[in-house]
């Protein structure tokens, strides 16, 4: 472009050419997308700005729909890259069409056209999966002159119904603003839609009736400012205008379903699974014999769960009915593998064989409090577990892990609403939460310090609840490998592990116990007559969150945890304490901390406990939260000072 303008000046005298260029210049500039036209309010905290964020969904009956996207986004800096990347996913029952795109420079001049052949068409297979029937068209703009603007339009038509909920985010992430975000839904006259609008005061939309009873619904949101990304922030759906929608009816591979209630949606899942729970007679007989001498149902479930864990493995194969239909139990029995649906269905079938009823259960998985919107009855799930109601209590089984203890869900699926699938439909239930006394990280240590400052002794750590699975696999390593793992995990100052043991206990309250004998070279630093001994180098450390001087988002503390440490130091003879560690305690809405020391002859007993609380707090509270932690961290960094007696 620069060259073109230069050329224009050079040849300005050549009238004919000059006129031609005068035409070319304004034609190639799309002043609409000039970056300087973005209002200041939308530049604040923003790395990229949607000039247009448009989605159009047309439902032409319960077994067919089309999604059309039109995006114009300005990337302001390197960290804003991402929304400019074009990704169009499709699969065996859909057709994708790319309608073209452009890249504009800061002034809105076209610098590049994006054509179909510029897109790379790849198989969309995740690393952990063996085969997914999914493909993706990708285009990544490679521009580093900021700001620049990318526009594109694409469309995917599906020869199946929309069996899941779809969300339209006015902006898809933190650090992104939007000038205009709009959603249009068109429905054929035989369909209705359910929807939920988030974070908008005026929830209205425009509605018009088209020919042949078609309905057209339009939501339009303007000037959505960018949200800053900060640690512990609640999800974006708490802040930005968003619409979640799903049709009331859908059809997929001949399976008809309804989203009108959880009960109805559950019936659809039931219909997909129906008849897939048949096991070979031999297996049934085998299982009945296996549990024949057990009189307690829980024991039987546990035995069969152990059988599942040792005879199957997880392979992600998503095929058939959008990956919603499990492989039948017979197939799993033969091959010994399956995905979460197939293995859960298999487990359910095996329990049925010994007369125990269990329910296939849908869940939204993930660490932290991943939740679904309970008032919106359409598929929001991505994982399947098994619920086994027994006489006294209910057992929950995760069927894809061969390491998890019986009836232990871990933080992947704990404490959240789930959908139980029964013949008569779906029912919401809730998985159990770990109580704070289970989420432990405790230390016990005995350390002897000699007059050179070197230390030696025994360190034990115990982890349970949500921490259990972080450490459990280590217990299966050989002693030598455990040692290597411990070295990579624990950063005690200049230490050598003399012996080590990691044991997992999987009884009612599972925990992992790590014990090691260590020698700690120069554990206490010497300076003339003095020795400086760090009090907290042995135990799990507390670290402060980032300061976030200008915190804007509220914050969520998700887990109640407990940390308890007892360390017994044996001090060398002939030293006195010049500085003791003051007893310290602090309590706030965020947690409770206490540390104290007891000195008896030449032993020093150090006891520390730290409980964290849960809650959602406004941004103004963040400074208090930071300060609470900073006080603790500062106290913990103190050294005990010993001085040699004269």
């Amino acid at each position: 472009m620069k060259n073109l303008i230069k050329l224009y000046y050079k040849s300005a005298l050549v009238l004919g050419l000059g006129v031609l260029l005068l035409f070319i210049v304004p034609l190639s500039a799309n002043a609409k997308y000039c970056a300087s036209k973005i209002p200041d309010a939308l530049l604040e905290n923003a790395n990229s700005v949607y000039r247009v964020n448009h989605m159009e969904v047309a439902f032409n009956g319960e077994g067919q729909f089309t999604i059309k996207r039109e995006v114009v986004v300005t990337i302001l800096n390197e960290n804003g890259k991402g929304p400019d990347v074009l990704r169009v996913q499709y699969d065996g029952v859909s057709r994708a069409r790319f309608r073209g795109g452009h890249i504009y420079d800061a002034r809105g001049n076209t610098i590049q056209r994006i054509r179909r052949r510029d897109l790379s068409d790849q198989s969309n297979v995740s690393d952990f999966s063996l085969f997914e029937d999914s493909r993706i068209m990708v285009y990544v703009p490679r521009i580093s002159d900021y700001p620049y603007t990318v526009s594109y339009t694409w469309e995917v038509s599906y020869d199946r119904g929309m069996y899941h909920s779809t969300s339209f985010y006015s902006v898809p992430g933190f650090g992104i603003s939007a000038e205009v975000a709009s959603l249009v839904i068109e429905l054929s006259d035989d369909l209705e839609i359910q929807y939920k609008v988030f974070n908008v005061e005026d929830q209205s939309m425009t509605e018009e009736t088209l020919s042949r009873g078609r309905q057209r619904l339009v939501w339009e949101f303007e000037a959505i400012p960018a949200r800053k990304s900060e640690v512990l922030s609640p999800g974006l759906h708490n802040f930005i205008p968003m619409v979640m929608f799903a049709p009331d009816r859908f059809e997929y591979s001949g399976y008809h379903g309804r989203n009108t209630s959880w009960k109805e949606f559950g019936k659809w899942i039931w219909s997909l699974n129906e008849g897939r729970d048949q096991l070979p007679e031999a297996r049934k007989k085998f299982l009945r014999e296996m549990v024949s001498d057990m009189d307690n149902d829980k024991e039987k479930v546990k035995a069969i769960y152990n059988f599942l864990q040792s005879h199957t493995r997880y392979v992600n194969i998503s095929l058939g009915v959008g990956g919603m239909q499990p492989f039948d139990a017979k197939t799993v029995d033969e091959t010994g593998y399956g995905d979460c649906k197939a293995l859960t269905n298999y487990m359910m079938a095996m329990l049925q064989a010994v007369g125990i009823n269990a329910y296939y259960t849908l869940v939204r998985s993930g660490k932290g409090r991943h939740s679904i919107f309970e008032d919106f009855s359409a598929n929001q799930f991505d994982h399947v577990i098994l619920c086994v109601p027994l006489e006294k209590d209910t057992v929950w089984l995760e069927n894809v892990s061969h390491l998890l203890p019986f009836n232990h869900l871990g933080d992947f699926t704990d404490n959240r609403p789930v959908l139980i699938i029964r013949e008569d439909g779906g029912f919401l239930a809730r998985t159990p939460a770990y109580n704070p006394q289970e989420n432990i990280r405790n230390s016990y240590a005995e350390i002897e310090l000699n007059n050179q400052g070197h230390g030696s002794g025994r360190v034990e750590r115990r982890y349970g609840g949500i921490y259990f699975m972080d450490f459990m696999p280590v217990s299966r390593l050989s002693s030598q490998r455990q040692k290597e793992w411990l070295y990579s995990r624990f950063s005690l100052p200049n230490y050598t592990i003399e012996s080590n043991e990691v044991v997992a206990s999987t009884d009612t309250l599972p925990f992992v116990m790590i014990s090691m004998d260590v020698s700690l070279r120069s554990f206490a630093s010497t300076s003339g007559r003095r020795m400086f001994m760090p009090m907290n180098a042995i135990s799990s450390s507390v670290s402060a969150p980032p300061r976030n001087r200008n915190r804007v988002n509220p914050f969520i503390l998700s887990f109640e945890t407990v940390m308890q440490d007892t360390i017994i130091f044996t001090l060398p003879e002939g030293y006195y304490l010049e500085r003791e560690i003051q007893d310290f305690s602090a309590e706030s809405q965020f947690g409770k901390y206490e540390a104290r020391t007891v000195i008896q002859d030449n032993t020093l007993l150090y006891i520390r406990s730290f409980e964290t609380y849960t809650g959602t707090f406004p941004a103004e509270k963040y400074a208090d939260f930071f300060d609470f932690y900073r006080r603790i961290v500062r106290v913990e960094s103190q050294d005990l000072v010993l001085v040699k007696e004269d």
């Binding site: 085969f131 493995r313 593998y337 200049n494 980032p546 900073r630 961290v633």
Partner: protein, 680 residues
């Protein structure tokens, strides 16, 4: 298992074919026949920690004459694995990659497998067949055949056997004798017609347990048709006798390969063998050479339309060239101007690349390209400016070090530019904006690269610059309550500067970086942070931090303790393990210098001062050294000086224990505390 004193070797195979051993001709492992011993085995005696063990991995590569396709390679692999632990189940997942180019493609002609499980006294066999595999198109030239063996449990033994037919004969499949699991035996055989002359390259810590080479007479039939007058054709055939060269290589009891910290890419250390075609000669025919010398390799590159060929068209950059010529009379200034031009105009698409993806003109128009597009363009522009410039090809760190004797194009994956002005040499990589003209980015610092010129070319050292210097000057104001106020000025040069900029650019805002800095010291409260010279190559990058480490209790103290290094203190030894098999690789040498001025509060005197230390790992090619001094200057302040140098980037496994000890002492010394006492 033999490990040759743990010495790493590069060997040209023909040199070591001295020994001969028994009847290696028998197939080492029979399909479907699994010894009961392995089915019953519940751990591998040579490595009880192993979660799986490769019972046998046998590969045979044959080149045969195919009537329609000509010479074709057939690579058959038979692998058998015992699984002890669920964590190793993924060893039963396979992804076989097949290449294609135009109408030539690799094909799987056979694929079968078995899983064996012992149920009581009975061995249950579950078959795996071709139909159970899924084909996935990875890209235009690459297909992946994916499958997973059925009925895998703890205790299973499985085997697979497959044959890949390939028309691509220039390089043969790489054979790895080692993997993350221990291996009972790994054997590779090659049956190659006399017409083909391959160079073999062996790499790794393991030594072949047996090697053998033989010759065998064989023949094939060629058929052809001749067209005569009036469309008459006649068919002919002839039998061709030839000698087949047979190679046998075997390693027994190979240990599992484990990755360690501060290590260059594992591909540098795994035991493997590779083959590259040197030449081909048909009976009575001409010898066709295939990069059997650097001269030929260079020639091949320079003749390639995507390498040497790109230099032919230069007009598109003529205007820029004229401008630089006019503005900069001095050659070095021209070089810098050319470098800056390419660097700022072109965006690197983060792909490596040995060949240009399109004409330089098109890349110039697109303003983007891979490393070859960008750096070949730089070479071209430099030449246009009458500067002596040539490409240097190299292998990035992730791609592995180039074995010096191996002349194989496929080892290389990146191009940079080399220029020479009056005997002064420059190595240039214009891909990233933060790299000055006198530095290479870390990914390129990987032993040696090869100069591509007419003729042999030569090795070019790809060392990191020596002057990677961090200078820290700080002033500490100690309060009588024990609080410390500090001002720290850091100057970072060369690679240290690049690392800082790389890191800093990852943060969304300066505040995020400040939050991170604050977290580096317990109770540290950052007051201000500034950065200067971040886009000025001529000066070190300067960062200035002002902060406070307050004490909770504001009352004056009788005794105050201060560690003058504050948050710069190294609190634990990065080398925790007691032993090491592989070299420690710091990538480039680093010099760190700390000058700290500690202001003593009024009414206080120094009660105890650390004595300072001076220790080193000496070495002819450099080593490591640490020196600290603590001096009282008058009664107002203490001066602390620390010089901490790693003057060579690479420490061998033999040097590891000394390096670990060295760092242990650094941790010890940096924990030393100054004690101040109130005057009574």
């Amino acid at each position: 298992m033999k490990i040759g004193r743990l010495q790493f070797c590069y060997l040209l195979l023909p040199l070591i074919i001295m020994t001969s051993c028994g009847s290696t001709q028998d197939v080492p492992m029979r399909y479907r026949h699994v010894d009961d011993y392995y089915l019953d085995m519940d751990y591998y005696p040579s490595d009880t920690t192993a979660k799986a063990v490769v019972l046998g991995d046998y590969g045979i590569l044959e080149i045969n004459y195919h009537r329609n396709k000509g010479f074709t390679s057939y690579f058959t692999r038979h692998k058998r694995v015992k699984i002890f632990d669920k964590d190793a189940f993924d060893v039963a997942d396979f992804h076989i990659r097949l290449y294609s180019s135009g109408s030539s493609r690799e094909r799987i002609t056979r694929l079968r497998g078995n899983t064996f499980n012992k149920e009581g006294n009975r061995v249950e066999r579950v078959r795996f067949s071709r139909g159970d595999a899924y084909e996935e198109e990875v890209s235009d030239h690459l297909t992946s055949v994916n499958f997973s063996l059925p009925a895998i449990r703890e205790g299973s033994v499985f085997e697979i056997e497959y044959t890949i037919e390939s028309p691509f004969l220039q390089t043969l499949p790489t054979w790895y004798f080692q993997s993350e699991y221990p291996t009972v035996f790994s054997e590779f055989r090659m049956l190659i017609p006399e017409y083909f002359n391959y160079r073999a390259m062996m790499q790794g810590f393991l030594v072949l347990d047996s090697v053998d080479q033989r010759r065998q007479n064989r023949n094939f039939t060629v058929e052809w048709e001749e067209n005569h007058f009036l469309n008459q054709t006649s068919k002919h055939s002839a039998r061709v006798d030839y000698e087949e060269n047979q190679f046998f290589m075997r390693i027994e009891d190979a240990p599992a390969f484990t990755v360690e910290p501060f290590m260059n890419a594992p591909v540098n250390y795994l035991s493997k063998i590779e083959h590259e075609l040197l030449s081909f000669r048909m009976p009575h025919g001409r010898v066709t050479d295939y990069s059997s010398s650097w001269g030929q390799l260079n020639d091949q590159l320079l003749r390639s339309s995507n390498f040497g060929g790109v230099f032919n068209r230069t007009r598109f950059i003529g205007e820029e060239k004229d401008r630089i010529m006019a503005q900069h009379p001095e050659p070095e200034e021209r070089l810098i101007a050319a470098f800056k031009l390419i660097q700022s105009e072109m965006t690197w698409n983060r792909n490596n690349g040995l060949f240009a993806t399109q004409s330089l003109r098109r890349s110039w128009d697109d303003k983007q390209g891979n490393a070859a597009d960008i750096n070949l363009m730089l070479v071209m522009l430099l030449r246009e400016l009458d500067i002596d410039a040539d490409p240097v090809i190299l292998s990035t760190r992730a791609n592995g070090i180039i074995p010096p004797m191996q002349i194989m194009l496929k080892n290389f994956n990146y191009v940079i530019a080399r220029a020479s002005i009056d005997g002064q040499e420059y190595l240039l990589d214009a891909t990233e904006d933060i790299t000055p003209y006198f530095l290479l980015p870390e990914r390129c610092i990987n032993d040696k690269g090869r100069l591509v010129v007419d003729g042999e070319g030569k090795w070019i050292d790809l060392k990191g610059d020596e002057n990677n210097i961090l200078k820290t000057e700080s002033e500490l104001f100690v309060k009588n309550c024990g609080s410390v106020e500090a001002k720290i000025v850091r100057k970072k040069q060369n690679q240290i500067r690049l690392r800082m900029l790389d890191n800093y650019n990852d943060y969304d805002s300066p505040e995020d970086y400040m939050d991170e800095f604050e977290a580096s010291g317990a109770g540290l409260e950052l007051i201000s942070f500034e950065m200067a010279h971040d886009d000025d190559w001529g000066n070190p990058l300067e960062t200035v931090y002002e902060f406070e480490i307050p004490e909770t209790d504001p009352g004056p103290r009788d005794i105050i303790y201060v560690n003058p290094l504050l948050n710069d203190q190294m609190e634990s030894n990065p080398f925790r393990r007691e032993e090491r098999l592989f070299p420690v690789d710091f990538v480039y040498p680093v010099q760190r210098e700390y000058k700290v001025k500690v202001n003593i509060p009024e009414g206080y005197v120094v009660d105890e001062l650390p004595v300072g230390a001076n220790f080193r790992i000496p070495g002819r090619n450099g080593g490591a050294s640490y020196k600290s001094t603590f001096v009282i200057n008058g009664d107002q302040f203490i001066e602390v000086q620390i010089q901490f140098d790693l003057s060579k980037p690479l420490f061998t496994a033999e040097e590891y224990s000394r390096l670990r000890e060295f760092f242990a002492r650094v941790v010890e010394e940096q924990a030393r505390v100054i004690v101040l006492k109130k005057l009574s």
